[in-house]
Symmetry: C2
Subunit: 303 residues, 2 copies
């Protein structure tokens, strides 16, 4: 039976999370060793995210250059998504498939190593994207859990995935920062509605399905608080797949850009969608669970 | 000649402010005495606003009761404005004309006294309103100067006015707080366009005229920064008429409500609009410059 039913025509409800947040080494029963300290792991477990200020500052310049080039390479492709009200770029999908610099980032031992540490397994990169919230015109994003979409529309069975993202510009209180609800990853909101065919074509511009209703969000926020994720360019964030997040619009003069990638455990192989007829295209969800290899950084990496 | 031409079919430009921010006693040439310290006056002069945390906390409960009643009294009237996408109340106009509690607030010596101190004259209440930014659905407001509108559409000749407002709910980083640009009151943005008839009927829902363009805002923000005005319910803010402000949308579960009133110097009598054929209705701009009297608080008030 599906432990996380959603958009199957039932009414909305909050159900318990049945999966660990931090997975343990099956041999020892203990958390895995890796780049994060045990305090950092505990904070991730409790809050559902971890912010490492300026962690990968050296990557920002080269990544921006590669992404600028990608906007031309991918012009006219489905991999480019625009803002609802203008033709400013909002999202570039699958930069991993098109850029060596992007691959270098996600295969860096300090990034990939964290994903493997928290999920206690090899991982594959299910999705990569660049999100830009343009100055003045960047629109808000409604509260949602990524896992809900991945489960219903892609076929991710359990909560054993996380998003790693790097800020490509400063993220401040005023340029439409990501809002998260710490601790919200510990319950699952089973949404109402039924997913239509090709829902993803409109949902990437403005999400309406898989968005909890106001009464439910009021209930969640009566017990929890909102936190803005801010930091200088180069800050890296690890963000649990079921953490509720959203963001306000950007009326500042500063665009906000991030590169994000979804690490899914190879033990959590993507199967058929739990609430849609057809899986989404490969650029939204790579179904190939080939484990990602750490880049050899010039030293021997164990493992 | 009009020192602040705007929306007269010319192209947009930034021009110097020609008026003082803090007016001086004409007899002595010095700032006036009043409830504010000289440091507070200097901060207002420099930034264009002043925040007094929890200044009038005792007023919050009674004001909320009166305002709740007003929503029924004024049902169906032009004085109630709704959100663009829903029928949630966004603004109530002229609460001063309908509520004793509101009059008590604006005629309180500590509130009215500040206005008289900064403007160095008797003042009249040109406009009063309640603004509500509803939870989840509260929309954003574009950058603008109130003076620009009052000058063009109402006929306020010079910059000798300020808005006093009290937070009727907590204002946080996350419930669509007012963003201001400290120091922006020291220059005037002369806007392009021409004001159509009855522009106010739509502009109160979504402003399009009198809104500086993105290149101009980019120029302003290359030299200045955005600041959020936050504080607990009962916080009072004094806000210079030409300060640029705006606000992002509210995706939190907490509505944000304020009561605001515009104090205009009786020496700055409202004449004919500088850029519109007809003045706006009285509930948007009281043209009667009858000086506001301080409430006798049970003690003798000098002056």
């Amino acid at each position: 039976m599906d432990p996380y039913p959603s958009r199957l025509g039932e009414s909305e409800k909050i159900v318990p999370r049945l999966d660990p947040v931090v997975y343990h080494n099956p041999a020892t029963g203990l958390p895995c060793a890796g780049p994060l300290s045990s305090d950092q792991v505990a904070s991730y477990e409790c809050n559902g995210f971890l912010v490492l200020p300026s962690f990968m500052q050296g990557f920002v310049g080269p990544l921006l250059d590669e992404i600028k080039a990608l906007q031309h390479t991918l012009h006219g492709s489905d991999k480019l998504v625009y803002e609802p009200d203008s033709y400013a770029v909002r999202t570039i999908f699958d930069p991993f498939g098109h850029s060596e610099g992007v691959r270098n980032f996600f295969q860096h031992p300090d990034v990939l190593g964290v994903a493997e540490q928290l999920l206690a397994s090899k991982v594959h990169l299910m999705q990569s994207r660049v999100n830009v919230k343009p100055a003045f015109s960047g629109r808000s994003f409604a509260w949602h859990s990524d896992f809900e979409t991945w489960h219903v529309e892609d076929g991710m069975p359990r909560m054993r995935a996380l998003t790693a993202w790097i800020m490509l510009s400063d993220s401040t209180e005023h340029n439409g920062p990501l809002y998260v609800i710490p601790g919200s990853h510990k319950e699952f909101i089973s949404c109402a509605g039924i997913t239509g065919e090709n829902n993803f074509k409109t949902s990437l511009r403005k999400q309406t399905l898989g968005v909890p209703t106001e009464p439910t969000m009021r209930k969640v926020l009566s017990r929890r608080r909102i936190e803005s994720i801010t930091g200088p360019a180069g800050t890296v964030v690890f963000h649990e797949c079921n953490l509720l997040h959203g963001s306000p619009d950007n009326i500042s003069a500063d665009a906000r850009a991030v590169l994000m990638g979804v690490f899914n455990s190879v033990e959590n192989r993507i199967i058929m969608p739990f609430g849609a007829r057809q899986p989404r295209p490969e650029y939204l969800c790579k179904r190939d669970a080939q484990p990602l290899r750490r880049l050899d950084m010039g030293i021997e990496i164990a493992g």
